[in-house]
């Protein structure tokens, strides 16, 4: 378990980058983050006027320059707040982190980007960092602080972890280890199901949802079902979206997986003592009743 010198820390500020899917499709992930943040001494500053990161699987493929310009605008918004970005979404982290690296490492490109941003009185200097939520929890908040905040140990819970491909793009895949560290700290049992590294199918779903379900989601869901996980946990709204849709749509083929899903922030909020209805666990499209019952958190 990684220890950090910041375990006895003061409140830290972050520019919260929500992205697209979390605020519009998975508000429970946002609500749970906003609930746990003060307990973990994180102050979240809304990035007013932020847009789609933009989604790398579409925009970067279609037009690299447009992808850079829109990313740069989002980065400039955080820079004007003077705070590092906290990205709650794997795809947003990838885009903003990689766009920042590309722009800041190339003075000519930085000048070109700024000539576009100047039309809107914005400027990018590359002063702030882009941090993934997992990175913030392990490196800034600290696992000891997280452990000290736990009010309801969920040690009877068996979860299947869906890391999401982008975490493997972090240096030496450290975000994958961070995910494991957090699960371990929460005292939850991660069950090996044998398809952890398989893509959920989200990028493919942007081209064809049917193919994504057939080629990716179906196999992954079947492996989790075989492993008898109580629920799936992910830190990626793209994975959440496609695996949730797949569970609902594959019923047409007679496939009933019924695997409740949690975003990592929800799992943390439950551990930190929030009730399912406070953070929206009961608003998921795949039913969570059995999970809530297993946790002994039914009713008010």
């Amino acid at each position: 378990m990684k220890e950090t010198s910041r375990d006895q820390q003061m409140t830290r500020n972050y520019a919260l980058f929500l992205g697209c899917y979390i605020p519009s499709m998975q508000p429970f992930a946002e609500a749970s983050l906003r609930r746990i943040a003060p307990l973990l001494k994180m102050k979240l500053i809304d990035m007013e006027g932020a847009t789609c990161c933009p989604v790398p699987e579409i925009v970067r493929l279609v037009d690299y320059d447009a992808w850079l310009f829109v990313s740069a605008r989002n980065l400039a918004l955080a820079e004007s707040e003077g705070e590092d970005i906290l990205a709650l979404c794997n795809g947003c982290w990838e885009t903003l982190h990689e766009a920042r690296e590309a722009i800041v490492s190339d003075p000519e490109l930085l000048t070109e980007v700024n000539s576009h941003l100047s039309l809107f009185d914005k400027r990018l200097e590359g002063k702030i960092k882009v941090k993934h939520f997992l990175e913030v929890i392990v490196e800034d908040v600290g696992l000891q602080s997280l452990k000290a905040s736990i009010k309801k140990p969920l040690s009877n819970l068996k979860v299947g972890v869906q890391y999401g491909c982008k975490l493997y793009k972090s240096p030496e895949s450290k975000f994958v280890s961070y995910f494991d560290n957090i699960i371990e700290t929460l005292g939850v049992k991660a069950i090996e199901y044998g398809a952890e590294k398989l893509c959920c199918g989200f990028p493919l779903s942007l081209y064809s949802l049917d193919e994504a379900m057939e080629e990716r989601a179906k196999f992954k869901l079947a492996k989790m079902q075989e492993a008898k996980v109580d629920c799936m946990v992910t830190a990626c709204p793209g994975c959440f979206d496609v695996l949730e849709k797949a569970q609902l749509l594959l019923k047409r083929q007679g496939l009933h997986y019924e695997i409740p899903m949690l975003s990592l922030t929800e799992l943390m909020a439950l551990s930190l003592g929030f009730r399912p209805e406070e953070i929206g666990v009961d608003t998921h499209r795949v039913k969570t009743d059995a999970l809530i019952a297993k946790l002994g958190m039914e009713g008010n």
Partner: protein
Amino acid sequence: MSDDELTLYPWRKRVKTLPKSFKNPIVNIIRVGHIPKLASTRERIRENLGINRKPPTAYQDEKARLELKELVKGTDLYDKAMWDERDE
């Protein structure tokens, strides 16, 4: 996609013709600032969870949406997705 990326990820290909399934997400990004439009049912869920009915992003900021549109006007992204769209 940059030339560096093509070297790093040789299986990735530049998109020359816009796939049909890419059009709506791009049009939404240019018009709304985000891929999904915000449904009223989700707004109610947000409100019930004690967070802003509309997220504090381009969803509730017209100036931000106009900025994004201006930023991408004249790029391939805009031309490929918006050529047959009515200006709103």
